[in-house]
């Protein structure tokens, strides 16, 4: 057990270094969302409620997490194509240890994202500060699980060239189907039902409700939380199965 934890720690440390030493990952996971948070607030917060910081900052946190799937997937796809993963598979490390070492180091990264975007949001609009902010930061760890699971799944299926395209679809879905950029009132019932059935809007709503107040506990907290956890579990189960299958090949 101790040796297993030591291996997970060593592999996790390596995976963090591989991600943060890539300037593109920092630009997309931190720079771009931060730029969008400030720009959209400054441009639109007086015209539309949607862009007030209490809505925008939680939305940006989840949006930035969508990029985790791209960079986690890219790392795994590269490790597969360069045979590093195959080689490590001859070592004492098990496939579960590999998966944990890809997933766990992403959690501190997502924590940094949440803290940064909420802090910047709070500086721009001090009304954001309060006891709900640390709670939202902690819940951000849960919303990130879906994207981490999808990243491991993409990385296990795709090669290094196709991973960008596939992950972009997920990022676009988070952007367009979360309702963070436009009010959903004007949309048709079918579209809203679809958005409610998918994880993207539920993740954003969970974060926004944490800042705004949950209201009805079922619709404000438990429903989006359970839907999100179900998708996260499905993503991780598929990721583990596909990863193990690919390693055996």
């Amino acid at each position: 057990m101790r040796k297993s934890l030591a291996r997970i720690y060593a592999l996790s440390k390596r995976n963090v270094k591989e991600i943060v030493r890539d300037p593109l990952s920092l630009i997309f996971m931190i720079g771009l969302p931060l730029f969008m948070e400030i720009l959209f607030y400054l441009l639109f917060h007086k015209q539309t409620d949607q862009f007030e910081m209490k809505y925008l900052a939680p939305g940006i946190v989840v949006f930035s997490q969508a990029f985790l799937s791209l960079f986690t997937g890219q790392l795994i796809a590269l490790d597969r194509s360069s045979s590093l993963l195959t080689r490590l598979y001859v070592s004492r490390a098990t496939s579960v240890e590999f998966i944990l070492s890809y997933a766990l180091p992403i959690l501190p990264l997502t924590l940094i994202q949440s803290v940064l975007f909420f802090l910047v949001g709070g500086i721009v609009d001090p009304g954001l500060f309060g006891w709900r902010m640390p709670l939202a930061i902690l819940l951000g760890l849960i919303t990130s699980l879906f994207f981490i699971g999808m990243g491991i799944l993409f990385g296990s299926i795709c090669n290094e060239k196709s991973i960008g395209g596939i992950a972009s679809i997920l990022i676009a879905c988070q952007s367009l189907l979360s309702g963070m950029w436009f009010p959903t009132e004007g949309l048709g019932g079918g579209m809203v039902a679809l958005m409610n059935a998918l994880p993207f809007r539920n993740a954003t709503q969970l974060m926004q409700n944490t800042i705004l107040g949950f209201g009805d506990a079922w619709s404000g907290f438990w429903r989006p939380m359970l839907i999100l956890l179900a998708y996260s579990l499905a993503a991780f189960v598929c990721a583990v199965l596909v990863f193990k299958k690919k390693m055996k090949q």
Binding site: K3, A10, R14, K17, E18, S82, S83, L84
Partner: protein, 244 residues
């Protein structure tokens, strides 16, 4: 004790028999070269014996442990350097060695000792703080092979270790491999006949998944009537019949 003993070891895919009934014994401490043209089954053999690929039929023992049943034990005793350069590209050379040492269960002073040994053997000290991605192809390959030694394996698989290297880098690696002789059992697959000639205690020649010849260079010359490995190899492979 035999480091490797296989009986009718076979790997087949849908329409292809990659390794066909391999019977092979390799003694501990031997440097054994496996030769063959592309698709002969060398890499599949290495992958089966290193637990990466499950055999379809037959049986094998690796360092006394049964393949398939004792894979966890085998993994503790073997390591592999793949055909492709396989390093963590954004880590420095030192960080790469540390990573593999920690995965092998080493800690503290043990890791430092391993670093010194590996740096000395491969001359990696001068690039210790460079990221792997910034190294030339030759240095990356050296690092890739060095990482296979970090776990201090009793059995080392070197799959085409000098593929794509220039003649100087190749000779340097030969020197390193030569230095490992006797310290562990080494199984080398290669396309380069002069490599097998210079390094091996014994040679195995494969074609279409079958082992056509096993023996020393001298036995190979005697069987084929040739006086160099390249011509003897061509004779065996084009002849088609098992010579030993």
């Amino acid at each position: 004790m035999a480091a490797i003993e296989t009986k009718k070891l076979t790997k087949s895919y849908k329409d292809l028999i990659a390794v066909d009934g391999l019977d092979l014994t390799i003694e501990e401490g031997e440097l054994f070269s496996l030769l063959g043209v592309n698709g002969a089954g060398k890499t599949t053999t290495v992958k089966m014996l290193s637990t990466l690929v499950k055999p379809t039929a037959g049986e094998a023992t690796v360092l006394g442990y049964t393949l398939g049943r004792d894979d966890a034990k085998i993994k503790e005793l073997v390591d592999i350097s793949m055909q492709e350069t396989a390093v963590a590209r954004k880590l420095t050379v030192k960080e790469n060695v540390e990573l593999f040492a920690r995965i092998a269960g080493q800690t503290g002073e043990e890791i430092e000792k391993t670093e010194r040994e590996v740096f000395d053997a491969f001359g990696l000290g001068k690039v210790a703080n460079k990221k792997a991605a910034e190294l030339s192809g030759g240095w990356q390959r050296k690092l890739s092979i060095a990482l296979a030694l970090v776990s201090k394996p009793k059995l080392l698989f070197l799959d085409e270790p000098t593929l794509g290297l220039d003649v100087i880098a190749r000779r340097e690696l030969w020197r390193v491999i030569e230095g490992l002789r006797g310290k562990m059992t080494i199984i080398l697959t290669t396309h380069y006949m002069e490599e097998a000639e210079a390094l091996s205690d014994r040679i195995g020649i494969m074609r279409d998944g079958k082992l056509l010849f096993v023996g020393t260079k001298e036995e190979l010359y005697q069987k084929t009537g040739k006086n160099d490995v390249e011509n003897a190899f061509i004779e065996v492979v084009s002849g088609g019949d098992r010579n030993a």
